[in-house]
């Protein structure tokens, strides 16, 4: 490229690049672009000095104002903590049944309860608290151990058949495995239990089952089979079945017993959190 070609129309030099007869003009950039670039460089140097910028071997340059987004985050979080300290204290001191009357406190409890439920409880009870076989649905109005806020609090706090001294506990015996009943008797009892909530069952078998029931089951489930929240014995007359309401499952339950465990949360969660979770579960629609 010995000669710089000039474009005839504009009088500007070309770069010598040409595509399909279209030549690129070498128009100089406006000078203020250059200034903007210089200003950016000055700004960058100032930024290195003021802000954290350069990685070192095991550290980094801190900058003269010592800014750190992590420190800012912690400062904001402790501000949040300080802001709700009075709510945490109030919730800890309150009678659980009376929290509802205080709109701000109740809102605080439900919000905290919702997120703590999701972290700690949803693995077994489901993200919508819908439960599954062996893990009770917490939305409905059937409560094995009572559905008042205090009952729920007691269950969450100390668990069911857990390793805590104050745990709730109750036993469904294994009538076949422990050779208490014969298989025929078990099937009769199952038929009787089903006849409590369903029409068209085998009435003869149910009659036979009723006698066995009166002898073996009423101690916990009650004379009328409505269960007992003291002992965690379910109501057998309603539409809700903890492990499944078909005859095979009921036979299985009677034959082998049931002893599901709900852990005690005393040592794992703060009392305020347990209170929040209890209030949240109570609010799902079935609370008593």
């Amino acid at each position: 490229m010995s000669e710089v070609e000039k474009d005839e129309v504009s009088g500007t030099d070309t770069t010598g690049h040409e595509w399909d007869g279209i030549k690129e003009l070498d128009t100089p950039m406006p000078r203020w672009w250059l200034w903007s670039w210089y200003i950016s460089i000055v700004w960058a140097i100032g930024y290195w000095i003021v802000m954290p910028a350069w990685p070192l071997v095991s550290d980094y340059t801190k900058g003269v104002i010592g800014y750190s987004s992590r420190a800012e985050f912690h400062a904001e979080m402790s501000e949040v903590e300080a802001g709700r300290a009075h709510l945490i204290k109030a919730l800890g001191d309150a009678e659980l049944g009376e929290v509802k009357a205080n709109a701000e406190l109740y809102q605080f409890a439900l919000s905290g309860g919702r997120s703590n439920y999701a972290v700690n409880c949803s693995q077994c009870h489901g993200s919508g608290a819908q439960g599954s076989a062996g893990f009770p649905n917490l939305n409905d109005d059937e409560w094995l151990w009572g559905g008042s806020i205090d009952d729920i609090y007691q269950t969450v706090k100390y668990g069911i058949r857990s390793d805590h001294d104050e745990t709730r506990t109750g036993e469904m015996p294994a009538f076949i495995r422990d050779e208490i009943l014969e298989k025929d008797q078990v099937r009769d009892v199952a038929e009787y239990v089903l006849s409590l909530s369903q029409d068209g069952r085998d009435t003869k078998a149910a009659e036979r089952g009723k006698e066995v029931f009166a002898e073996e089951c009423t101690a916990c489930h009650g004379d009328d089979a409505t269960g007992s929240t003291e002992l965690g014995a379910p109501n057998l007359k309603d539409a809700i079945w903890f492990y499944g309401g078909d005859k095979d499952t009921i036979v299985k339950t009677i034959s082998n017993g049931r002893a599901n465990v709900m852990p005690s949360w005393t040592d794992r969660l703060d009392d305020t959190v347990v209170r929040q979770i209890s209030l949240y579960i109570h609010s799902l629609g079935g609370g008593q």
Partner: protein, 485 residues
């Protein structure tokens, strides 16, 4: 060795200093003062636009108790936008989109009708640059005096003039940035806060940034903003056709140009006497006689300058005038401006503008002061209760846009044998009447139970009706009630 003659090679040093100019220094433009009809029009428009900018935040508008009485207010703290009778919530941000669409279409229409009228008269860059040039002229004199001052060495009087000029520019910048912040807070209160130092960092940095940009754009960068930074000159090419108005030099009448003495004949020559007045007044530093150019903002000051000259030499005005591309080749000295304002392009823009504008207006006028949103629980979809009934949960959100507390009656329709209750503050409320504070959104948990046989096929439609007990305004939402299949 043969003593051969040494030839001169035809070569130019590529990196010779003058070939190395990667960056061009801006050549300062010192526009001469123009007088005439268009200059007058520009003064008037400048007055109006500046007045709108400075006065608007101070206009009061009574909205009743509990609402700000500023006519135009962008209230970030409370997430509201007020514009006279209009009050927008964040979820109505599509109105802002609508306003932007309407503005864009209006700009398209004006451009296809009158060319770059926006650029020449009402663009803030033009208005403020005009103001800055006015100040400059008042301090340093007109074009010739300023050119002389630029060339002169530094002296006490030059330094004094420069300091006065830049100080005035910065004051204008301060007033510009200062006026901007009043759109975001109650202006009278805020004015006091700005002066007592209580206005906060955001306000002061906004003022500082706008002061700087006004000073730099209006005082130092001027035409470079239009030529290099603004996308509009590039876009407008798509709106302009041979029927659009633009500032036009009538070459057929003006050429061949040349100096003219009083006694000379006008035969066999053009009407342009090459006095360069049109170039001297141009704030963009171009020669309109070169034809339509990207840089031309159609401020029409060259028309004023040329008309003045034509009057002096006794020729008809309008050698440079607003004309269409189609009319520029007409050589007759006196011509009537003929513009086809109604053409497919303008009709299309007009119709679009009308449609979008009407939609905006209709939705704005029918804007509800009560918004209801029903979200049904999806997890779990339904709950079977001990007595065999099926329960569904809904979150009912009621948005009360009135500035006072209202009570609302919620009713559920469309399913037999159902029972509904609200769970509010943990208590069951079966009368389904809830209060919502003014200007607020409240959420309520609504439970509906129904016998399984009423839910055919596992799902049935129900209506949730919310009625304002004062105004009887009703909002209805259709949702579903689900049960086992």
């Amino acid at each position: 060795m043969v003593n051969s003659p040494i030839e001169k090679i035809d070569v130019h040093p590529v990196n010779k200093k003058e070939n190395r100019a990667l960056f061009a220094k801006r050549k300062k433009i010192q526009p001469k003062r123009a007088t005439g009809d268009f200059r007058k029009l520009k003064w008037i428009i400048m007055g109006i636009t500046l007045a709108i900018y400075y006065v608007t935040p101070w206009i009061r508008w009574d909205r009743g108790l509990g609402a700000p009485d500023q006519a135009v207010l962008i209230d970030f703290a409370h997430n509201r936008f007020y514009f006279f009778f209009i009050e927008l919530w964040p979820q109505e941000v599509y109105y802002i989109t609508g306003i932007l669409i309407v503005s864009a279409l209006a700009l398209f229409l004006v451009t296809s009708l009158f060319g770059r009228a926006w650029c020449g008269y009402s663009c803030p860059q033009t208005v403020w640059t005009d103001l800055f040039i006015f100040v400059e002229r008042a301090i340093e004199g007109d074009r010739n005096a300023r050119l002389k001052l630029d060339k002169a060495g530094m002296s006490v009087s030059k330094l004094f003039k420069r300091i006065i000029k830049h100080s005035l520019w910065i004051v204008i910048g301060l007033l510009t940035g200062g006026a901007w912040v009043f759109y975001f807070a109650d202006a009278p209160t805020f004015l006091v806060e700005v002066f007592t130092g209580e206005a906060g960092t955001v306000a002061y940095s906004t003022i500082a940034i706008l002061t700087t940009t006004t000073y730099v754009f209006g005082g130092l960068m001027r035409e470079q903003v239009c030529t290099y930074m603004c996308p509009w000159p590039r876009i407008q090419g798509a709106m302009i056709d041979e029927e659009s108005l633009s500032v036009t030099y009538h070459g057929a009448r003006g050429e061949p140009r040349g100096p003219h003495k009083k006694a000379d004949s006008w035969d066999d020559r053009g009407h342009c006497i090459d006095c360069n007045q049109c170039v001297a007044v141009c704030p963009m530093g171009i020669d309109i006689r070169d034809g339509s150019q990207l840089e031309c903002i159609t401020c029409a000051l060259c028309i004023d300058a040329c008309d003045e000259v034509m009057e002096k030499i006794g020729l008809p005005k309008g050698l440079i005038s607003y004309d269409t591309y189609a009319g520029r080749e007409d050589p007759s000295p006196i011509k009537k401006l003929e513009v086809r304002f109604i053409r497919p392009r303008t009709i299309a823009y007009g119709v679009l503008l009308t449609i979008v504008g009407s939609i905006m207006l209709v939705t704005l006028l029918n804007r509800s002061i009560l918004d209801v949103n029903v979200i049904r629980d999806r997890n779990p979809l339904y709950v079977k209760l001990a007595d065999g009934m099926i329960r569904n949960g809904y979150t009912v959100k009621i948005l009360n846009k009135i500035h006072e507390t209202r009570r609302y009656q919620i009713t559920v329709e469309g399913i037999d044998g159902s029972r509904s209750w609200l769970q509010s503050e943990g208590a069951q409320m079966s009368d389904l009447i809830v209060p919502v504070p003014g200007d607020a959104l409240s959420s309520f948990k609504l439970f509906v139970t129904a016998p399984p046989k009423a839910i055919e096929g596992g799902s049935t439609d129900i209506k949730i009706i919310v009625k304002d007990l004062v105004s009887s305004l009703v909002e209805e939402q259709t949702t579903t009630l689900k049960g086992p299949n």
